[in-house]
Symmetry: C2
Subunit: 421 residues, 2 copies
C-alpha cells in the first residue's frame, strides 16, 4: 500500500478534533471552523458541529483528571492536554443530604465548581477558548468581564504564555482588580458601564487580528466548554443522567450546554437517554429569562440589572431564548429570588454542606427552595444543583449578616460566662 502525500486521515492533525464546522443555530447555514461567531446569512449565533467518533466509558475514565477526559466531545485537538493550561474540571459532585433534608428533597447533589483553578466554572470555557486561540494563531487572549471571567482569562493566558488583555468597568471593586491584575497581563479599566465595556470590546475584536476575545470571536468554542459540567455530573453519578438540574442563568449558555452535554452522552451510548428536566435560576434584580418564562413569551426583554448577584447580571442574555427552549422542552421552569433570599441561600448551603458559594450559588439554592414550594420541582426526583463560583469572591454579600457569636476576654471564666459549653 502506498500512502498519498497527505497520508491517511488519522495521521493529519485536526486542530479542532471532532469538530467539522460551525453552524447557525437559527438558519443552519454552515461556516468553516474559524474565528466566526455570527451567521453571514442571518446574523444568528454559530455553534460547533461534530463528527463524533466512538467513545466508551473506559476511554473517558482512562483520560486525564480534567475536562480533557471529554476531548472527544470538544473542538480541541487530540493532544490538548499536553498544551500548558490550567487543567480545570472534575470538580466535586457533593452528595448533599443535609441540604436535601432542609429543602425536603429526597436525593440531592451539588456540583461544586468553586474547586476549579480560579474557583469558577469559567475556567472550563476559557480552557476551550484558549485551545481555539492557539490553533487559530491568536497571540493575545482577551475578554470583557466584571469578575470570574477576568480571573480565568488572566490566569490561563499567564500559564499558556500568551499575552492577556482584560477590559473591566473602572468602578469595579478593588478585590476584583487585584485578583486579575496579579497574573501580570494587561488590565484596562474603562470609564463606563459593563455594556460600554462590551461594546468597546466588540470594536476591538473586529480590528485586532491577533486578538482572541474568548466570549466574542471565540464564543462558539468557548461555550462548548460548559458541556463538561453535564458530562462530569453523569460520569460522577455512575453514568446516568439526573432527573432534575437547577442551573443559574446569566447569558443562558451554561444551562443550554449542560442539556447539550446530556444529549450527546445519550447519543454516544454512554448513558441511557432517560428523561430529565432543566430548571433556571435568576436574581429578581436581573430576571429577564424568568420573566419571559412566567409570561409564556419566546422573546427575552432586556432589563437593567440591579442585584448583588453580579456574575448573573446580564440584562440582555444572548442565550436567553435557547435557555427557554431547553427548559420548556424538558418540562422544567425558571424562577427568580430577591437579594435577601440569595444571602439566605448562601448561608443555607454553607451551614448544611460546608460549601461557601458566591452569590450565583445562593441564587440557585434559593430558587430551588422556591420551585419546590411552588410544586414545580419534584421532591422525589434525583436533583443536581450547580454551584458555579466561590464565596471568597463575593464576601460583601454576607458581610452584613454574619459575625462573631461572642466576644470574650482571654480567661476561662469569661469562656464559662459566654454559655458556649
Amino acid at each position: 500500500m502506498t500512502l498519498t502525500s497527505a497520508g491517511p486521515r488519522s495521521a493529519v492533525r485536526a486542530p479542532f478534533g471532532p469538530a467539522v464546522a460551525l453552524a447557525c443555530r437559527e438558519c443552519g447555514t454552515r461556516t468553516s471552523l474559524g474565528a466566526h461567531y455570527a451567521c453571514l446569512e442571518c446574523f444568528g449565533p454559530l455553534e460547533v458541529v461534530y463528527d463524533l467518533r466512538p467513545v466508551t466509558r473506559e476511554s473517558v475514565a482512562a483520560g486525564p483528571q480534567s475536562i480533557w477526559r471529554y476531548k472527544d466531545f470538544l473542538p480541541v485537538p487530540e493532544d490538548v492536554a499536553a498544551a500548558p493550561g490550567l487543567q480545570p474540571g472534575l470538580t466535586r459532585l457533593v452528595r448533599a443530604d443535609n441540604l436535601a433534608r432542609e429543602l425536603g428533597l429526597k436525593s440531592l447533589w451539588v456540583k461544586d465548581d468553586s474547586g476549579n483553578p480560579t474557583h469558577s466554572f469559567k475556567d472550563r470555557v476559557v480552557a476551550v477558548a484558549l485551545s481555539a486561540a492557539r490553533e487559530l494563531g491568536f497571540t493575545t487572549l482577551a475578554c470583557a468581564s466584571t469578575g470570574n471571567l477576568a480571573n480565568a482569562v488572566a490566569a490561563a493566558a499567564a500559564r499558556a504564555g500568551l499575552r492577556s488583555v482584560v477590559f473591566v468597568p473602572s468602578d469595579l471593586e478593588d478585590g476584583k482588580i487585584i485578583t486579575t491584575a496579579v497574573y501580570g497581563g494587561a488590565l484596562v479599566a474603562v470609564d463606563g458601564s459593563y455594556d460600554d465595556v462590551n461594546r468597546l470590546c466588540s470594536e476591538v475584536a473586529a480590528d485586532q487580528e491577533s486578538w482572541g476575545f474568548v466570549n466574542i470571536n471565540l464564543r462558539p468554542y468557548y461555550a462548548e466548554g460548559s458541556k463538561t459540567v453535564g458530562f462530569e455530573i453523569a460520569e460522577q453519578l455512575g453514568w446516568h443522567l439526573p432527573e432534575q438540574v437547577v442551573s443559574p442563568v446569566a447569558s443562558g449558555s451554561l444551562l443550554t450546554k449542560v442539556d447539550k452535554g446530556f444529549r450527546e452522552l445519550g447519543a454516544a451510548g454512554l448513558v441511557e437517554p432517560t428523561p430529565y428536566a432543566v430548571f433556571g435560576a435568576q436574581a429578581t434584580g436581573c430576571s429577564p429569562v424568568s420573566a419571559a418564562f412566567a409570561a409564556g413569551a419566546d422573546v427575552v426583554r432586556p432589563v437593567r440589572p440591579a442585584t448583588i448577584a453580579k456574575s448573573l447580571a446580564i440584562g440582555n442574555p444572548a442565550d436567553g431564548p435557547y435557555a427557554l427552549d431547553v427548559v420548556r422542552r424538558t418540562g422544567g421552569a425558571v424562577a427568580d429570588v430577591t437579594d435577601e433570599e440569595v444571602v439566605e441561600g448562601i448561608r443555607l448551603l454553607a451551614r448544611t454542606e460546608g460549601i461557601f458559594a458566591e452569590t450565583a450559588g445562593g441564587v440557585t439554592v434559593a430558587v430551588t427552595r422556591k420551585l419546590l414550594a411552588a410544586g414545580l420541582l419534584d421532591p422525589d426526583a434525583e436533583t443536581v444543583l450547580l454551584n458555579t463560583g466561590d464565596g471568597l469572591k463575593t464576601l460583601d454579600a454576607v458581610a452584613p449578616v454574619v459575625g462573631p457569636t461572642a466576644t470574650i476576654d482571654p480567661s476561662y471564666s469569661a469562656f464559662q460566662k459566654a454559655g458556649l459549653a
Copy 2:
C-alpha cells in the same frame, strides 16, 4: 469452622484502621489510641504508630478521588469515605515549566493545595481529625486559628453535622471572620493575641469532655493528614519520589509529615526509596527554624512574629526541632525571605503559572529562588514546591503593588491611544 463470638479479626470494625497506638516521639512510650497528645512519662508529643497492611498501587488507584485513597496509611476506619466530610485532596500537581525557566531549574512542579474545598491544605488535616473526633465520640469540633484552620474546621463540622466552636483573636480582619462565620458554627472572638487564644483553648480542651480540638487533643491524628501531600506527589509523579521538596514551615508539622509519607511509601514498596532532600521556607519576620538551621542549633528559640505571611506566623513552632531533623537528615536546608520578597514570589508564581497563592506560597517560591542562588538547591534535580493556600485569602499582601495597566474612556480612539494594540 465455628466463629467465636468476636468473629474473625477482619470482621471487627477498627475505628482507627491500621493505627495500633500512640507513641511518644521523644521516649517511645506507647499509649492507647485516644484523645491524648502528650506523653505521660516525659510530656513529649505523641505520634500515631501503625501495623500497615499490604497496599498496592492498584488498590490506591481504585480508591476515591480524595485523601481517602490513602486510608490504609491513616488512623481512620475502612469506611471513612462514606462518612460526610469535605473529601479534600488529590489537588493538582502542576508542571511548572515557566517558573522553572525563570528560576533556572530543570524540572519543577507545584503541588497546588489551593484546590482543596476551603482552599488550603488544612482541609486534609481537619478531615483526619474529624474522623477521630467521630470515633472518639466528640460532638463539638473546635480549634484556635487566625485563618485557614478556622475556615476548614467550620466547613467540615457543618457538613459532618457536628457543632463547631472556633476561637480567633478579636482583631482579626473582617474577611476572615466572614469566611468562618458563614458556616454557621460558633465563632468566639477573644480580646487578646493569638498566644492568648491558644492558651485559653488548652484550658477549654482540658475541661470540655465532648470537645475535640483538632490541633490540641486530636493533634496526633490531625497531623497525619499532612502525609497525604507526600503520597499524592509520589503518585502524581507516576509513583516515584521527587529529588527535592520545598515546604513552608509554620509549626513544622507539614514538612515532617511529607517526609514521613515518602518513607512509608518506600517501606510499603509503592515507590523505590530513592534519596530526596527536604527544604524549609519561612518569612524573615517569623523565622525561628531558619535561624536555628543557620546557627547549627538543635533548639528552636521562640520569636514574636512580624510578617505578612500570617499563616506561617507561629513564633514557637511545636515541630520545629523535628523539621530540623528531617532537613538535616535528607541534606536539605531552611531559609527565610523578607515580606517584599514574599510579594514578589506571589506575583512570580501568578504570572508564570496562573496560580494565585496566599503569602505562604510566596514564601516558598521566594525561598526557592534564594536557595538556588546560594547553591543549596540543585538546579538539575526534580523539585516540588508546596503551595498550601489561596491568594484570595490574603489580598492585602498584593493590593499595594498591582492594579490597572491603563484607565480609558469607552471609545475606540481612547483604546488606540492607550498603546495596547
